[in-house]
């Protein structure tokens, strides 16, 4: 009798009955592999790990219930219909019946995914939770060139761009943005919507490389779902702030476009709507400037709006924003939103040509700033006297206004992450800015903390008007120092370095002291022991068996009675900790070497 003999009439049990391999699933569903993939992507079905892999280790297993879930999906039937319809068209074409083929093509059956979205995300909050990948993908495709060969259509790229702008407009308008980080891969944004942290990555606004070893079909299937999802999410969030969605395509507004008064009345009528739309228009307009070549038609209406905005007085957007903000109930804003809203309050920014405009146009209003740019349709010109900061990213600045400060774009991002207005000295034109630090890092006590992070921390404390205990020995200058900080809210960098060093030294001293104390305690014990045993000549060398051994023993002995599983886990964790420690150590070592090199240079 074989080992896995099952008598006739007895049903399968256990993992064999619960899971099926992919090929079994395909056979069962009677679909092709590509269609199966598509279904899995759209329905969010993923393989599972059975406890026992009945068919072998190299198979992918799906849960039987998942497959049954796919089986009852109406989309399967729809896809089948579409396939037969395609065959019809093909037949007509091969018979040179072009009329029929064209007629058939116009009536091609389509499908919608809204039901699927509702099914996968029964609550709005679920959708928000899963939005990270969606946003990153949509933003990436918004930056991709349309390629016929890979079936990346212009229409879809535009749709992605529109959706991403809508999302950004909402985040910016409602001041939901929390963290920004410029990485080599692109710019990371983190927003907090309905208590959910949503993080997404936008690529740098440059020509993207399209590698060959990528199956765009799969990506486009994902994109198809994500586009629909984001559209519905956008609708929901726009709805939540009483703004009509989609925001631009209002023919009435277009008709009103000629009359400024009528427009302002329209603004008054539904106070929030125009703000968002104009912002959105501004965003897309900036976009247009960048690539006028392909999306002139699509953004026609937006362009009209932007022109309209252009006709407004220079300070109109700011005034409007204030008006809208007054109208919007501040009572529902939490503490953080308020803080974000007022970070760039009463500041006027102007963007030079070479800075990443799209990003800054999104970010600065999100933190309460007013921003304009060089180019057509900008709310105000470079010569505006009210501008407080001009953001430039060039080696030298020719003409300079004395009423404003010229800073590199990194300053804006660092300010946002630190939630304070940082001193601009280090970010001046032509200088190498201080390191840009990730706001996503959470420091453990033993982690390596970059120097600039310490500086920022101190500045934050100063801004909060707290007296941070200064490191080093308490002296007169240290007592004075916080006062200085309060006065200037600025700390010199060299000073900061010094301070950090002093702190380090103190820590070292403390540790040394502690060690000594420990040693003393142990030494006493040892001494007592030796006192007791001095009747007989005793191998003192052995008695003084290193205290390290004792510590290790103490650690070991508790693990004696523990089960093997836990012991292995403990060991693995120890290894992990060691690795982490090694990494930190490496960073510290590099830092030390750098400091030494610097010292020897000066």
């Amino acid at each position: 009798m074989p080992k896995h003999y099952r008598p006739a009439g007895k049903k399968k049990e256990g993992n064999a009955a619960k899971y099926m391999t992919r090929s079994q699933a395909i056979k069962y569903l009677q679909v092709s592999l590509s269609l199966f993939r598509k279904l899995c992507i759209l329905k969010g079905v993923f393989p599972r790990v059975p406890k026992k892999k009945v068919k072998g280790n190299h198979h992918t297993y799906y849960h039987v219930k998942d497959i049954a879930f796919l089986k009852h999906e109406p989309l399967v039937e729809k896809f089948r219909d579409m396939r037969t319809y395609d065959r019809k068209v093909k037949k007509a074409e091969s018979k040179k019946n072009r009329d029929l083929a064209e007629r058939l093509l116009t009536r091609k059956p389509t499908y919608t995914l809204d039901r699927l979205i509702r099914e996968r995300y029964p609550k709005f909050i679920d959708a928000l939770r899963d939005l990270d990948d969606c946003l990153s993908m949509v933003h990436l495709f918004a930056a991709l060139p349309a390629i016929e060969r890979e079936k990346i259509e212009v229409k879809r790229v535009h749709n992605c761009r529109r959706l991403s702008h809508e999302w950004q407009a909402y985040i910016s308008r409602c001041h939901k943005l929390r963290k920004v980080f410029i990485s080599v891969k692109g710019i990371y944004y983190q927003a907090e919507v309905e208590g959910q942290k949503v993080t997404w990555l936008t690529p740098h606004a440059l020509q993207q490389v399209l590698p060959d070893d990528v199956d765009y079909k799969v990506m486009l299937t994902f994109l198809e779902f994500y586009e629909t999802l984001l559209a519905f999410v956008n609708f929901k969030i726009y709805n939540s702030i009483n703004v009509k969605y989609p925001p631009i395509l209002d023919p009435r507004l277009e008709a009103l476009a000629a009359d400024l008064y009528a427009l302002s009345r329209y603004f008054d009528a539904n106070s929030k709507a125009p703000m968002v739309s104009s912002q959105d228009a501004a965003l897309s307009e900036s976009n247009q400037v960048k690539d006028k070549n392909n999306d002139a038609e699509l953004h026609e209406s937006e362009l009209r709006l932007a022109q309209l905005q252009h006709q407004l007085p220079s300070n109109e957007p700011g005034a409007l924003m204030r008006l809208v903000e007054d109208a919007a109930g501040e009572d529902e804003d939490d503490e953080e939103t308020k803080e974000c809203k007022t970070l760039f309050k009463d500041m006027k920014f102007f963007l030079s040509r070479e800075v990443p405009r799209e990003s800054l146009l999104f970010v600065i209003p999100a933190f309460g700033g007013v921003v304009s740019w060089e180019g057509e349709g900008s709310p105000y010109k470079e010569t505006d006297q009210g501008i407080t900061y001009q953001i430039v990213d060039r080696p030298t600045q020719g003409h300079k206004f004395f009423t404003r400060e010229y800073v590199q774009p990194q300053w804006v991002f660092d300010c946002i992450n630190a939630r304070i207005i940082l001193p601009t000295e280090d970010y001046m034109v032509g200088r190498v800015p201080p390191p840009h630090l990730s706001p996503f890092v959470v420091y453990d006590p033993e982690d390596h903390v970059p120097e600039y992070a310490e500086t920022i921390k101190r500045l934050q404390a100063a801004a909060r008007q707290e007296v941070l205990p200064m490191p080093g020995v308490v002296g007169v200058e240290d007592l004075e120092n916080p006062q200085n900080l309060l006065d200037e809210a600025i700390i010199d960098r060299t000073e900061a370095i010094e301070v950090a060093k002093r702190k380090e030294k103190l820590l070292k001293l403390q540790k040394q002291h502690l060690d000594e104390l420990n040693k003393e305690v142990k030494g006493e014990q040892l001494a007592v022991e030796s006192d007791a045993s001095d009747k007989k000549p005793v191998d003192t060398g052995f008695i003084a068996a290193d205290s390290e051994q004792a510590i290790k023993d103490a650690a070991d002995i508790t693990m004696v009675g523990v089960s093997r599983k836990k012991r292995e886990l403990y060991k693995a964790m120890q290894i992990g900790n060691e690795r982490k420690k090694a990494k930190t150590q490496l960073l510290k070592e590099r830092k030390r070497l750098l400091d030494e090199a610097k010292k020897s240079n000066t």
């Binding site: 993923f46 998942d66 519905f232 609708f235 990194q410 007989k536 068996a545 002995i557 403990y570 510290k588």
Partner: protein, 722 residues
């Protein structure tokens, strides 16, 4: 062919496809050739096209065809005409083609018969009539011979008889030329260019008036009958809904999907959300701190590593934002993420984000479990070889030790003074004090012998002990016993050591006393023994009597133990421990250790718990009331456990191993049956050096104090106190 042909016939012949001619080059030869000329007829069509007078020339041809016979009759006039014509043509050879045409037009045909077949006049003298009604006479027929001769004359080859006009015609060189061209399928005149560019002379546009000024007729606007029928059919189809019209394409509608936000349960299995992508750290910054950037040496070191070991992301620093290039792996990474999302199996795993210290069991503080031996207090030195075994005196004053150097020593515990030394010939395997206080007797296993030695302690008991340690002269072995085979043990009195010597047949490894001090057992774990039950024998001191255990052994015996209060006997083999009832002669319990190589056992003074040490370094605690499986397995030692021991009064137990350590545990057994024993590891005792791969050989607790003695392979005995 001979018969004269009418014009119609000739015309019908025109439509014949042209035939290819080979011998037409030579006109002289071809002259007499019939076929040759018949071919010429075929080319008439092209001749007429070229603008020459059609009928005349055909006639000429026909003449040519029938020239051999020259029989046919024809009109005179015509004949003349052709003659004239040919003459004029020859005369005006320098003139254009058109002029020759016009000259031909002038000459009227001489024939007056009209369009009637020549056949009708075949047999007549005349051919037609002139204007006054007189018959026109045919030309006089030549004699056949004459005509032949005439034809044979080469000079006359140009002459052709025109039957229709009834005359002789001479072909001019020009005409011959034309004929030759026609035969080649060319245009008759060399000047004519058949491929001249087409000139459209008609002015199509700019016409002031339409070609037809009639109004568009009504019928052009009205369907025909059949069309009407078709339309009616379509209308009916539309009305009945057989034909559907395209609706304007709708954009997918966006609406408030989560409007009411009712809690609809997701279909299918529980959704496991995909893990979010890792958030970037400092090193991914476009301008990270300098310490995050690897040095050149490190970068080179990466190159030496395997590709999969190399870091996936190497930090880079850009001095300004404008110099940051597009990330080349952006699409690829997104694609990989997509693959992860739909291809990676997902499972919920508990995130082990705990402090590793929390994995350690919550044990009561060691301070509360004091006293226990923790520090080395005394060392007993004197042995020359590894101390194999030690045993404490029940009074707690003395300790005996046996070493492989062949000596057994007694030490005073408090002072470390060596009280007594026995020199034995072989290495000592085991020493054991008699547990009764009155009998300070030492059982020593040396090689294949067990010695019972008088420790020489206590004044009052000396006499009794000497009595006890006297054996009568060994009687001659009983004949019945010899027949069975040699007895395993022979009791003899040893004069030298002043004790009893029990001769065994094999090496004795351990000796265990019964609690009352009368019985003791010895183990000979030699695998050559045929009868395994011989390996363990129980001796009675008072009767000097040895008996084998009445049980079958399962596997090689390792050690034995007596139950501290009941008549149970523990025998441990390599895999299991069996508990026998000595009174009832039956197996009480079998303890499954799960170990492969048991080295020692110890019984808790309460009698319900057993400690088993193994050569794998594992320590098993059995609660015999609970189960026959180990209650707890402690993996403490890295090498063989050589010995385990319970303290008689304190809740302590210890194990020692070849790795040079001894572990001390707190092992509390509660009288309440519901409460499981509490086991707490307390201390690792170090200090013995390993020699020859062996570490601590034996450990024993002090009978009253929480002290532990350890015997090391480094020939030192240590006392650990609290």
């Amino acid at each position: 062919m001979k018969a004269p042909k009418s014009k119609q016939e000739s015309k019908s012949k025109e439509k014949e496809p042209q035939q290819h001619v080979v011998e037409e080059e030579d006109p002289v030869v071809s002259d007499s050739d019939d076929e040759d000329w018949s071919v010429e007829e075929g080319s008439e069509g092209s001749l007429s096209d070229s603008g020459l007078e059609n009928s005349d020339f055909t006639d000429n041809k026909e003449d040519l065809t029938t020239s051999d016979d020259a029989v046919s009759l024809d009109d005179e006039d015509d004949d003349d005409d052709v003659g004239q014509d040919s003459q004029s043509e020859s005369g005006e050879s320098h003139q254009g083609v058109e002029e020759s045409d016009s000259s031909e037009d002038e000459a009227a045909p001489r024939n007056t018969i009209g369009d009637v077949p020549l056949k009708w006049y075949e047999d007549e003298e005349h051919i037609g009539y002139d204007i006054s009604g007189k018959k026109l006479k045919k030309k006089e027929k030549q004699d056949k011979l004459e005509s032949f001769l005439e034809r044979a004359d080469l000079k006359n080859w140009r002459k052709i008889y025109d039957e229709y006009n009834d005359e002789e015609v001479e072909i001019t060189p020009k005409e011959a030329k034309i004929i030759r061209r026609l035969l080649k399928g060319k245009a008759p005149h060399a000047e004519f260019d058949p491929h001249a560019p087409y000139v459209d002379w008609f002015a199509w546009d700019g016409a002031k008036h339409p070609m037809s000024n009639a109004p568009e007729p009504k019928r052009r606007f009205i369907e025909s009958k059949w069309e009407h029928k078709k339309i009616v059919k379509l209308i009916r189809a539309i009305r009945n809904g057989y034909i559907k019209f395209d609706k304007p394409k709708e954009e997918p509608k966006v609406y408030n999907l989560w409007g009411d936000d009712q809690t609809e349960k997701a279909g299918g299995l529980a959704y496991i959300p995909a893990p979010k992508p890792q958030l970037p750290g400092h090193e991914e910054s476009y301008n990270p701190s300098l310490e995050f950037i690897p040095t050149q040496e490190e970068l080179d070191a990466y190159q030496l590593e395997f590709e999969e070991d190399r870091p996936k992301f190497i930090p880079k620093r850009f001095l300004s934002l404008r110099s940051v290039p597009a990330y080349e792996k952006a699409v690829k990474e997104t694609f990989d993420r997509c693959l992860d999302l739909y291809l990676c199996p997902r499972a919920r795993k508990k995130r082990i984000n705990i402090d590793p210290e929390s994995l350690k069991p919550k044990l009561p503080s060691r301070k509360d479990l004091r006293p226990y031996p923790s520090t080395c207090y005394l060392e007993y030195r004197g042995h020359k070889g590894p101390v194999m075994s030690i045993s404490t005196d029940p009074s707690g004053q003395w300790i005996a030790s046996g070493s492989s150097d062949g000596t057994v020593r007694i030490w005073e515990i408090d002072t470390g003074r060596c009280l007594k030394i026995w020199e034995l010939d072989e290495s000592v395997n085991f020493v054991a004090w008699n547990p009764s206080l009155e009998l300070p007797i030492l059982a020593v296993a040396v090689g294949a012998d067990v010695y019972l030695l008088n420790a020489g302690l206590g004044r009052e008991e000396q006499h009794k002990i000497e009595e006890l340690l006297r054996v009568e002269k060994p009687e001659a072995p009983a004949p019945d016993e010899s027949s069975k085979g040699a007895p395993t043990v022979i009791w003899t009195e040893d004069e030298k050591q002043k004790g009893i010597r029990l001769k065994h047949i094999k090496t004795v490894t351990s000796v265990e006393w019964h609690r009352k001090g009368d019985y003791f057992s010895s183990v000979m774990p030699s695998d050559i023994l045929v009868i395994e039950s011989r390996a363990i024998s129980v001796h009675q001191l008072s009767k000097k009597f040895t008996q084998r255990i009445p049980f079958k052994l399962h596997g090689l015996p390792v050690s034995t133990a007596f139950h501290p209060s009941r008549s149970f006997f523990f025998i441990s083999t390599k895999m299991t421990v069996r508990v026998y009832d000595l009174l009832k002669h039956e197996l009480v319990k079998k303890l499954e250790t799960g170990l492969r190589n048991v080295s020692s056992i110890a019984i808790h003074p309460g009698g319900d718990n057993v400690l088993v040490g193994s050569r794998e370094g594992k320590l098993c605690w059995f609660d015999m009331d609970l189960s026959s499986q180990p209650y707890k397995i402690l993996r403490c030692h890295k090498k063989d456990i050589t010995s385990v021991a319970y303290h008689r009064t304190y809740p302590l137990f210890a194990s020692c191993s070849d790795d040079g350590t001894a572990y001390v545990f707190h092992g509390m057994v509660y009288s309440d049956l519901n409460q499981n024993p509490l086991i707490v590891p307390l201390e690792i005792l170090r200090g013995h050096h390993s020699s020859n791969g062996r570490g601590v050989m034996d450990c024993k607790f002090h009978p009253r104090q929480p002290w532990l003695f350890t015997a090391g392979a480094d020939s030192v005995i240590k006392l650990f106190c609290h």
